[in-house]
Symmetry: C2
Subunit: 536 residues, 2 copies
């Protein structure tokens, strides 16, 4: 069996003192009523308030704002249906909670104030204000936020402060003041729906989990070589022939609308990626003459490479396609990919060779840059803002202002530094690849990563917008998706929200134990973060 010594080394070394001599029960004891990710400023006392869900309500100054009333309903349900707090205790006691030292009354309402108006039609964006302040010291208790987005984040925090008292059934919270805002404006989770199709209901549940972790960008890597599951309005043949299945394994326009709206309700942006010119093999199933035919001995092999940068029809197609994407998705930014372009096929193709000669191109990097430059111009002419994978920047393509460089290779810090030194906004993902596995668990490794682990000026650091955890789906399907993402992505979520070094690993381990049980209680199939343990 897994030796305790091995287990300690692989997994929870800081928590192991003497090999083989262990205590019964969970290896990491969960906290109670502590918040993930940790707020910027929090004062909590040992005094506590009781919440009786059936005699508890939220009040607000903007009752007309459906975004807020929907959020209040969600969190009232979470509180009322035991989706809060820590695991219930196994040892019950008969003491009346109200006779315990520190009892400070019953909390029957929290007033939620927005400082600006809210119509309910707001759309989350890169400039949204997610700050909020909570005063839960007694009556009246308040949540105050400049915008609806901060209010939504604050409600999540309130729901996490509530936990079961020792009697195992009474909900309480310690009197608390919090002033909170995110360290980074861009806190994303990439989901690849091409290598395996991830059904809509799982994507929706995943948006819930993102909200429970205060992540705010769903980076939807919709297509790739293996399948094209997006049902386009203008080019339905893309999914008709490029999806794994033309009806069972696609996202219809209604699916896309539902996902965008579900995300909007939770203050989450839905940013799509249509990765070109590589990673497009499935595109060629529905639309002919856009991929580069590969050659051997002066004859096509039947294999295809990246988009053909020498073909005018490619740019016509790209323009029409992104016109649709920009109109379907309210998000301002679209991820244009640009990673891992293989040159083998271009090299083999006589038409490409001739095109390069005609245009005095001396390298395939130049050819790639030629394509990307045209792509960027097209998308920006359509009014879209863009992100690109780091290769595009490294290859020296001239990027429009504000195009974001998405760093994913190696440890990330070197290219991250180069990008911000060149005045480019940047995101870090290198250290948060959820498809990388390690025996025993690896959130500790994810928790060591920090986008601010670079030597840079204040001005440069401002250009680091945040980062993304990435769930590439080669080895995940609908059955293991949620448990592989959660709570591992929670580590990235805290690093992106909370101030640098806000918590030590061993403190975070206890809090993550609670947070995992909390997610489980809310229907998120998170796996164990810390070894032996349980949730009720």
């Amino acid at each position: 069996m897994i030796g305790w010594r091995d287990f300690c080394i692989a997994f929870v070394m800081p928590l192991c003192i003497t090999a083989y001599i262990v205590n019964p029960g969970p290896v990491v004891k969960a906290t109670k009523g502590q918040v993930w990710p940790i707020p910027e400023k929090q004062d909590t006392t040992t005094n506590f308030l009781i919440i009786n869900p059936t005699h508890f309500e939220f009040q607000t100054n903007v009752p007309q704002c459906s975004l807020l009333t929907n959020a209040l309903n969600r969190y009232w349900n979470i509180i009322n249906n035991h989706g809060v707090g820590n695991v219930r205790q196994s040892q019950y006691n008969e003491r009346e909670i109200t006779e315990i030292d520190g009892y400070s009354g019953k909390l029957s309402s929290i007033k939620v104030y927005l400082k600006t108006n809210c119509t309910g039609d707001e759309v989350p964006s890169d400039t949204m204000d997610e700050s909020y302040e909570i005063d839960l010291m007694g009556v009246p208790s308040t949540l105050i936020a400049p915008t609806i987005w901060g209010a939504i984040r604050g409600l999540e925090t309130i729901s996490q402060l509530i936990y079961y008292a020792e009697d195992g059934s009474t909900l309480i919270l310690n009197t608390t003041k919090i002033s909170d805002k995110p360290r980074f404006p861009f806190r994303g989770l990439l989901v690849d729906t091409s290598r395996h199709f991830i059904p809509k209901d799982i994507l929706l549940k995943n948006l819930d989990a993102m909200a429970y972790n205060k992540l705010n960008v769903f980076h939807w890597h919709l297509t790739d070589d293996h399948s094209f599951p997006y049902q386009s309005i203008k080019f339905p043949e893309l999914s008709q022939y490029g999806a794994y299945h033309p009806s069972a394994l696609i996202y219809t326009q209604q699916d896309v609308k539902d996902i965008i709206e579900y995300a909007r309700q939770r203050g989450i942006r839905v940013m799509t990626e249509f990765d070109t010119p590589g990673h497009t093999r499935s595109w060629g199933e529905g639309v002919s003459d856009i991929l580069t035919p590969c050659y051997e001995n002066n004859a096509p092999t039947g294999m295809y490479g990246p988009l053909d940068p020498s073909a005018d029809n490619v740019y016509t197609f790209i323009k029409e396609f992104f016109e649709e994407i920009i109109s379907v998705f309210p998000e301002n930014y679209v991820h244009l990919g640009g990673d891992e372009v293989g040159f083998e096929c271009w090299e083999s193709n006589p038409k490409i060779t001739q095109f390069m000669k005609d245009n005095n191109m001396v390298s395939y990097v130049a050819l790639e840059s030629y394509y990307i430059q045209k792509l960027l111009d097209i998308v920006h002419d359509l009014g879209g803002k863009s992100l690109v994978w780091e290769e595009v920047f490294v290859n020296g393509v001239e990027l429009p202002n504000k195009t974001i460089v998405h760093v994913w290779k190696g440890d990330g810090y070197t290219v991250l530094k180069k990008a911000i030194a060149a005045g480019k906004p940047a995101l870090l993902s290198s250290c948060w690849y959820l498809d990388y596995l390690k025996t025993g668990g690896d959130w500790d490794k994810f928790y060591e990563c920090d986008p601010h682990n670079v030597n840079a000026t204040e001005e440069e650091l401002e250009l680091i917008l945040g980062g993304e955890a990435c769930m590439w789906s080669e080895s995940v399907n609908k059955y293991n998706f949620m448990s592989r993402v959660w709570p591992r992505a929670s580590a990235a979520a805290e690093k992106l929200w909370s101030r640098k070094d806000a918590a030590t690993y061993s403190e975070a381990a206890q809090r993550l134990e609670e947070h995992t049980c909390r997610m489980n209680a809310r229907g998120i199939e998170a796996q164990p973060p810390n070894g032996p343990g349980y949730c009720l």
Copy 2:
């Protein structure tokens, strides 16, 4: 993102030809109607029969045998409810199936003959005969088996031969003759229900999955340091105080009965392990004075070590406890553990030191052996047969005839060879630790393992009874248990059933792609085996 080059290296190297130039669709194409694990002898033609589930029945010569009629019902349901064959095709055609070359008629019944009587009360054991013969060449089609257990295995095989024709909706099977039996009599899966509690419904579903892979021993590692979820009749305090929760996270006697019966219906033995003298920390919560108190500076530290071999009451307790276990579980064999005994606590304890002096024991290995010897005697006096982890054999404890040595450390082959050379029956698990993870997938590694990879005489090889895949549960809870076990344990299942080198890795990959989809279709939450792909 995960580079295709990296992915090839980490994952499916034999399947990658040129980096970046990939085909759309699944990276490994699934077979159709092929059997996992591969039968000993199989002749299949390109002719095919149609099965219309609503006009199909099993017939049998032992209609009074409830084990068989239950199995026939299960498999009829599987066939009728699309739990068979390959993924449905995305491209439909209108051709009449009966006009295709090779059409050989409709299969309206299969006759299932047992060569021996069956009352329905049979219990699977280490000596059961699982062989069977199938003749599906036309009418009449037959499954003939010496015993009910072979019939159950044969029904599984038949269900796997059936697949969807090109029209995506007609069930067909190629005309086939099979003569099959397992290479090893002991083909197990260990499930640790102590580090995390795995609910009964998941254990039952896991038994289904075991049957779909022809595994025949559920090794139930019921207790360990962290929790004691077995609700004992004689010692209810063990789970009352030693379980993670005294009612929500235990297995009642009824649960145990249900699990044993569910397994029996599928020809699966339920072999328990109550690991002593180490891995018993949770036992001490309910029963006092059985663990060794650890000392520091001549005073107890409050920590506890293994069972106290110097205490008479330990043996009284052990005798009473195993008396219950042997009466509750019909299985002849009980796994007695004996692994990873830490000596720190014994070394520190003055009573132990005195006891060793009084009994002229010069090493802690001798003390451990003293305990194990008494334990073995107790269990064998009670009529139980035993397995022990390899340490017991390596430490030189005199093992009763037929006590099985369970090899789990290192690569396993060295100790396996030593055990059989010493005339001891043995099992291999070292190479099938499902808690060990690797990016991308690792069934290839599990598929390289083979208990017959040792230099030994025929007589010695006879002593290798088989092996077990092990799901230690430090990092699995009810949410990721099934997807972590399946289809990774399928690799071990094939190595244990099929003849040595029955299939190459790349052939097996295609068959495992189908088998995974088949398990998914039957409700088993198996994860992807081979990278990008899909099931319908």
